[in-house]
C-alpha cells in the first residue's frame, strides 16, 4: 500500500488508527468466542474473521450518528463501529438477559439495536435488504438527510429479496448502499457454483445503479467506495451496489467443519492477505502506528475482551417466563 492514502481520502491520522482498533477488536472478540465455544461455555459462534476490513472501512464512510444499518450475521465490525460494545456482544454470545440485540432470544450475531439504528435481523438470509430500502424510502418521504446501509454475503445475492429490493431502490433512486461481502463461500458451496455472472457487482446494471467491485482486504479502498456511494445517495443520485472481495477464514460456523469442502492450503494462502496484518503495516509505514502504540492497543483490547467475557459470563439469564413477553405491544 502506498503511504498516507488515508489523508488523501480525507481521514485524519487518528481516524485511520481508529479503523485499525475496530478491526482488531472485532477479530479479538471473535477469537475469544471460538475459545468459549470450544470450552463448552457458549453454544454457537458465527464469525467475522477475514471480513473486518470491509466492515469497518465501510462503516467509517457512513454517518455513524444518522445513517441506518441492516447488517448480516458476520458484521461484528459494522455493529462495533455503530456503537455496540464488546460487553453487549458477549452478553449476546452467552444469551443473557441484558443482551441488547434480543435479550437472549436469538442466536449470537443476529444483531439489532435501535438506539444505534441497527435494524434487527433474522436467520433467513437477505430479508434485511428490503428493510433497508424501506428505511431509505422513509428518508425520502420525510425529507431526512441520511442513508441506509445493508450488507449480505454473495450467496444471499441469489435470493429474490436481493433482486426485488435493489430493483425497488433503483426505480425510486433511494439512498441505499448495498455491500455484498463476497467471502467466496456460502457455507460449503464456492462462488462459481453460486453466481453465474463474473462479479456480483454486475448484477447492479439491471437495477439502474452503479456496481463496483473492491478489494475487501483494503479498508481504505472500501472506505473510498462507500464514501462515494454515500455522496451519490445524499445528492439524490440513488443507490449503489458494492462488492467487497475477501475470504472467510473460519468454517461457516462453530457447527461446520470446512475440511469437508476446502483445502487448508487455500485458507492458509488467504490468511497471508489478512487485512489486520497488512493494514497495520500500512499504518506503520505511514508513521502513524508505532510498536509502542500497537502494544498499547492490543493490551487495551485484551482488557476489554476479558472484562466483557467476565461480565457476560456472570450476568443473569432471562427469567424463564419472560419467554412470554413482547409478542405484541404491552
Amino acid at each position: 500500500m502506498a503511504k498516507n492514502r488515508h489523508q488523501s481520502l480525507g481521514l485524519t491520522d487518528e481516524q485511520a488508527v481508529d479503523i485499525y482498533k475496530h478491526m482488531l477488536l472485532a477479530r479479538k472478540i471473535d477469537e475469544r468466542m471460538w475459545l468459549l465455544n470450544r470450552a463448552g461455555k457458549i453454544p454457537f459462534v458465527i464469525s467475522c474473521q477475514g471480513q473486518e476490513a470491509s466492515q469497518v472501512g465501510a462503516s467509517f464512510a457512513l454517518d455513524r450518528n444518522e445513517d441506518y444499518v441492516a447488517p448480516y450475521y458476520r458484521d461484528m465490525g459494522v455493529v462495533l463501529a455503530f456503537g455496540m460494545t464488546a460487553k453487549e456482544l458477549m452478553l449476546s454470545a452467552f444469551a443473557k438477559a441484558e443482551d441488547p440485540n434480543s435479550g437472549g432470544r436469538q442466536m449470537p450475531s443476529h444483531f439489532g439495536q435501535k438506539k444505534n439504528r441497527i435494524l434487527s435481523q433474522s436467520s433467513p438470509v437477505t430479508t434485511q435488504l428490503p428493510h433497508a430500502v424501506g428505511v431509505a424510502l422513509a428518508a425520502r418521504m420525510e425529507k431526512k438527510n441520511f442513508a441506509s446501509f445493508v450488507t449480505l454475503g454473495e450467496g444471499s445475492s441469489n435470493q429474490g429479496d436481493f433482486h426485488e429490493g435493489l430493483n425497488f431502490a433503483g426505480v425510486h433512486k433511494l439512498p441505499v448502499i448495498t455491500m455484498v461481502e463476497n467471502n467466496k463461500y456460502a457455507i460449503s458451496v464456492p462462488l462459481e457454483k453460486q453466481v453465474a455472472s463474473s462479479n456480483v457487482s454486475d448484477r447492479a446494471q439491471s437495477y439502474g445503479m452503479p456496481g463496483v467491485t473492491v478489494d475487501g482486504n483494503d479498508p481504505l479502498a472500501v472506505y473510498e467506495e462507500v464514501k462515494h456511494a454515500r455522496e451519490r445517495a445524499m445528492n439524490g443520485e440513488g443507490p449503489t451496489l458494492i462488492e467487497a472481495l475477501s475470504y472467510r477464514f473460519t468454517a461457516h460456523s462453530s457447527d461446520d467443519d470446512d475440511r469437508q469442502y476446502r483445502e487448508s492450503a487455500e485458507v492458509e494462502d488467504a490468511k497471508k492477505k489478512d487485512a489486520i496484518i497488512s493494514y497495520a503495516a500500512y499504518l506503520q509505514e505511514s508513521g502513524i502506528l508505532t510498536d509502542d502504540m500497537e502494544e498499547e492497543i492490543r493490551t487495551d483490547i485484551d482488557a476489554t475482551v476479558n472484562e466483557a467475557t467476565d461480565y457476560a459470563e456472570n450476568a443473569a439469564y432471562p427469567e424463564p417466563e419472560s419467554a412470554l413477553k413482547y409478542v405484541y405491544e404491552e
Partner: protein, 327 residues
C-alpha cells in the same frame, strides 16, 4: 348517516387515517393512478401524491419487506396485496420478519404495518383469485388477522389496524366489496381488534363464523325464524388471536354450535374455534360441534358448476342449522 359499500368503507378508512397522520402511506401494485384493481385506493393518489400512494414494482416480497423497513423507521405503511392468493412470495417477510420483529428484538423494534388483501370466492376467480389464506398465518404469534364482515366493521377495524403498533393482516372479502352496503358513520370511530361481535341474538343454535359467510347465516336465520328456529350468530371479526371469551359465551348460550368458514375444512380457523369450545364447554353442549366448510380440494374451480359447489351459500347454511336444531 351515509350508506356505503364495503369497499367505500375501506377507502374512507384509508383517507381518514392518511389525513389524520402523515406517517400513514399506501403501497402496492396499481394502487396509485389506477386506484387499485378493485378501486380501494381510488382518489387517494390525487389527494396525497405519489409517495403516499406508491405504485410499487410487481414484487410482493418487496412490498412487504419495504413496508417493514419503513415501519421500523416509524412510518405506518398500509401495503396492498392485489389478491390474497398472491401473498405467498411475501410469506417469509410476513412470518419471519414482521411477526417476529418485536419478539426477537426484545421489544426494541416493532412493525406498525397493515397488509390489506382481497380474499374469497364467488366471483369467477378460479384457483388463484378466490382463496381464503388466513389459516396460513393463523398460528403465527406476533400477527393479528382481521376479517370484517360489514362496511361498518371494515371502516372501524381498518382504522384500528392502521393505528395498531403491531403487524395486522386485513383480509377483505372481494365479493363483499360491492354486494354489501350499510350505514357507516362519517365520524372517526375505531373498533377493537381481538373482539368478536354478536350479529344476531338467538336461543336455539349458535353459529360462529366470519367474513362474507356472516351474511349467508343472517339470511338463513331470517328464513329459519319463520320455522321457529332462533339462531345466535357470533362474527369472529378477528380470526387470530381468537376472542376465546366470546366463543365460549356464544357456545354456552344455546349448547348447539355450528362453525362455518368459506375456507377448506381441514386445518381451517374453525378447527381452532372447535378446540376452544371442546376444552371449555363439554357440559354445556347438547349436540356435537358441527363444521360447515369448503371441501378439501386445493382451491375453487373456475367452471360455474364447480364454483357453486365449493362456495358457501345461504341454502347450505340453512340446511346445516336446521339439522343441528333438530338434533
Amino acid at each position: 348517516m351515509p350508506v356505503m359499500s364495503y369497499i367505500q368503507a375501506v377507502t374512507a378508512a384509508l383517507r381518514e387515517e392518511m389525513q389524520r397522520d402523515e406517517k400513514v402511506f399506501v403501497l402496492g401494485e396499481d394502487v396509485g393512478k389506477k386506484g387499485g384493481v378493485f378501486g380501494a385506493t381510488k382518489g387517494l393518489h390525487e389527494s396525497f401524491g405519489e409517495y403516499r400512494v406508491l405504485d410499487t414494482p410487481l414484487a410482493e416480497s418487496a412490498i412487504a419487506g419495504v413496508g417493514i423497513g419503513a415501519a421500523m423507521y416509524g412510518m405506518r405503511p398500509v401495503a396492498e396485496m392485489q389478491f390474497a392468493d398472491f401473498i405467498m412470495p411475501a410469506v417469509n417477510q410476513i412470518i419471519s420478519e414482521a411477526a417476529k420483529m418485536r419478539y426477537r428484538s426484545n421489544n426494541d423494534w416493532n412493525v406498525p404495518m397493515t397488509i390489506r388483501a382481497p380474499y374469497g370466492g364467488g366471483v369467477h376467480g378460479a384457483l388463484y383469485h378466490s382463496q381464503s389464506v388466513e389459516s396460513v398465518f393463523a398460528n403465527q404469534p406476533g400477527l393479528k388477522i382481521v376479517m370484517p364482515s360489514t362496511p361498518y366493521d371494515a371502516k372501524g377495524l381498518l382504522k384500528a389496524s392502521i393505528r395498531d403498533n403491531d403487524p395486522v393482516l386485513f383480509f377483505e372479502h372481494k365479493r363483499a366489496y360491492r354486494l354489501l352496503k350499510s350505514d357507516v358513520p362519517e365520524d372517526d370511530y375505531v373498533l377493537p381488534i381481538g373482539k368478536a361481535d354478536v350479529k344476531r341474538e338467538g336461543s336455539d343454535v349458535t353459529v360462529i363464523t366470519y367474513g362474507l359467510s356472516v351474511h349467508f347465516v343472517l339470511q338463513a336465520a331470517e328464513k329459519l325464524e319463520e320455522e321457529g328456529i332462533d339462531t345466535h350468530i357470533l362474527d369472529l371479526r378477528t380470526v387470530y388471536p381468537l376472542d376465546q371469551e366470546a366463543i365460549i359465551e356464544a357456545a354456552q348460550k344455546t349448547g348447539k354450535v355450528l362453525l362455518i368458514t368459506e375456507d377448506n375444512k381441514e386445518g381451517s380457523i374453525i378447527g381452532e374455534v372447535s378446540a376452544v369450545i371442546a376444552e371449555n364447554c363439554l357440559f354445556d353442549l347438547d349436540a356435537p360441534i358441527q363444521r360447515l366448510a369448503g371441501p378439501d380440494i386445493p382451491a375453487m374451480p373456475f367452471s360455474p358448476t364447480m364454483e357453486k359447489y365449493f362456495m358457501m351459500n345461504p341454502d347450505k347454511v340453512e340446511h346445516a342449522i336446521r339439522e343441528l336444531a333438530e338434533f
